[in-house]
């Protein structure tokens, strides 16, 4: 394939006309496809339907220690679900608090508590003039929405395939005590699917923040969400590494079963040091008497243990893998060698990150929408929705059936081409007019 930049202007114009004809054909099909969010597809949800059978009116709903899961009590989760979630999160059952149905909610509550009550005795953030967060970019829009909602200033930190720019993180964190946290998706990152290198994790654990109440918000959303049995990304466990580095209280680690059992009906958890957990429990006992223990028990009875859960994740992978591979194949076939876009090839998680020519992302997403394909909004992967290059687009291949996905990605590639040609032509015009 010849790169578009090597086309003559005349060739680009001819190409543009041809691409527009194709686009019109797509428009005529009245498509209604959605690649916007990291939603599991129906077949994935079917995998967990057995969960509806593990508890019946004949079941005892008792924990191993005799606790009746049907009644009030047990603030931070039943013992056996702590073991299960602990194994999943690679920490001890004692290092965990089990929450309700959403790790996003746990993260929100964590920030909210820090605003109103500080962190382990520090000044409540709402009493400070400036509170800042580091945001590896591109990243997860719902993280950024939380910090924006609380008026926390967000500072972009560039991501690379090994993780955030640690030189920058170390420098900023050690110099500015208004910086209270950093959003991380360390494994199969959202949206790139990158996993932090050992060096990155080690440097995180050895941060020397100017702010005592600085915390790493380690959102391990995709901890066992591998696509390939033979290519499982493995990270150094951050709690243990922080402890080794003499910084045991530095990190909050979040996870949930949202993309394991049912989104919205799963179980979320936080893992942290004893000091942090005590700090959290002091608040949690005011907020609630306890989370849904029947659902905790349902998860334990269904999965049994971490091996059952991992086996279950293999079945998820069997459904997701062909979708990721289809996207990668189409992008390669349609865009390979054209030098108008790059994309990631993750071993797990829920997303592929695409970068167009600068200044094209918004137009591509809008063009997809006009032909009936909804992508994640351009800019969404950056704080305040502001992608400085207007180039990043998150692709979420999980939800549509394969046949739909094929159509959607082909249309997407077509829109990438159209906007790239448009961009190149306008750049040449500018150059002409300068002459």
């Amino acid at each position: 394939m010849k790169a578009y930049k090597d086309y003559t202007t005349e060739e680009l114009k001819e190409l543009s006309a041809a691409l527009h004809v194709q686009y019109k054909e797509y428009q005529a099909r009245n498509l209604q496809l959605n690649m916007a969010r990291g939603k599991p597809c129906a077949e994935q949800l079917d995998l967990s339907m057995g969960m509806m059978d593990v508890l019946s009116s004949d079941s005892d709903l008792l924990c191993e220690d005799g606790t009746d899961c049907r009644n009030y009590g047990v603030l931070d989760g039943i013992k056996e679900v702590k073991v299960l979630m602990g194994d999943m999160m690679e920490v001890s059952a004692d290092d965990i608090i089990i929450y309700g149905n959403s790790s996003l909610n746990v993260m929100y509550d964590t920030i909210s508590r820090s605003m109103t009550h500080g962190v382990m005795g520090s000044t409540p953030w709402s009493h400070l003039d400036h509170v800042k967060f580091l945001c590896p970019v591109p990243g997860y829009d719902r993280h950024f929405a939380i910090t924006e909602y609380f008026g926390i200033e967000m500072i972009n930190v560039p991501m690379s395939p090994t993780g955030p720019d640690m030189d920058m993180v170390e420098k900023l964190v050690s110099e500015d005590d208004a910086i209270k946290g950093i959003w991380c998706v360390p494994k199969y990152s959202n949206p790139q699917g990158y996993s932090y290198s050992d060096e990155t994790v080690r440097r995180f654990a050895r941060l020397k923040p100017a702010a005592k109440d600085f915390r790493i918000f380690w959102d391990n959303a995709y901890t066992i969400h591998h696509l390939y049995d033979g290519q499982k990304d493995q990270l150094i466990e951050i709690l243990a590494e922080c402890k080794r580095a003499g910084n045991p209280d530095l990190v909050y680690k979040f996870a949930s079963t949202s993309k394991i059992s049912f989104p919205g009906s799963g179980i979320a958890a936080i893992a942290a040091s004893k000091n942090n957990l005590e700090d959290i429990r002091r608040q949690l006992c005011i907020q609630t008497i306890g989370h849904d223990k029947v659902n905790q028990l349902r998860h334990v009875r269904y999965f049994g243990d971490i091996h059952g859960m991992e086996e279950h994740m293999r079945r998820h992978a069997d459904i997701l893998r062909p979708k990721f591979e289809l996207v990668e194949q189409i992008l390669e076939e349609e865009l390979g060698g054209l030098e108008i876009g790059t994309w990631t090839k993750p071993h797990g998680g829920y997303f592929i990150s695409f970068d167009s020519l600068p200044g094209c992302a918004k137009a591509i997403v809008a063009r997809c929408k006009k032909a009936g394909v909804i992508m994640t909004g351009a800019g969404a992967t950056y704080p305040y929705g502001l992608d400085p290059n207007d180039s990043n687009i998150r692709i979420a291949p999980s939800y549509p059936p394969l046949a739909d996905l094929e159509v959607a990605v082909k249309l997407f590639a077509l829109c990438v081409k159209i906007e790239a040609v448009k961009k190149l032509l306008s750049m040449r015009e500018e150059t002409e007019s300068v002459k």
Copy 2:
């Protein structure tokens, strides 16, 4: 029965000796009984076991509008659960947001949001020098714990059988713009089991608060929790009454199914005006993608509609009624005419409120504990745990089996007698020494 105050000192001393002999006999039994919290008993929980069968792996988990309850989405609850909870809360399905498993959590989050973001555009409470709440007393300890946690000053307002002292509420609320709310359990109040009169509700709806962001926190925890089919307390619906009074935004109404289905595994909701709900949704969409829809669907499929739920509540009442009646019978038999205590006789809810002679409550509860019977801590029904009279004790008859309850209440009555005699004797000694 002769009132203890009419006993001679010699008679009181003899009585004291005899009561202590009885007490020693109780101590020898090594009792382990608990009347501390409003927990349903095992038989009540058994009533809802059918809920474990309504969804199976063969079920579709689709809403009437086709929404797949197994996946992400639906921020404020599926339509059919809004209808069910709306009927239960006597409001329209449109006036509701469905939450997770706990109305306490909803109340906490409501205060927390008001602290960080204000109410419908008002100054965040955390930016104000003084924030105050009115607390009808005695009241619910977990309410008071929330406001205390956020550093909100609590002002006691006396309760009567028709509700809080409305002269005082109207005066305080209209004069002091630091007063931002009032905690109410309007029906079968915690701990008295009082239900607000029509006049009380009408006066609430017509409050003229100095603070625009003042809200009535109407915790309708026991809305359909009647004990007697023929004696159902009925309140004027507060949202409608506020609207009629031209104060549509004045109230948040809370409820849950915690004591209908399973505590901790039920569904909570808030009802409020459109303006309030919009204000809440702006925050909620940052905090979560949605609550547990599978559990929402489970509740709808199990109860069917409000009639199914009310039928279910009759079965709860059949279990609870004998317990309340047993407590009342024993108290009457043991304490009637002695003039050393008064107690309420509720038509619903979970508690009986007992008032001892002033200065005796702590000693009574401590004495019960030393003989193996745990009561709600004395003082718990007041803000900061400070009962100015040291006389109120909450009795929670729901959890122990009838046989245990009989023993526990008899011991309680004995402890009331012992401490009353002690009090009367010490008062006489004081009088003597003054002479």
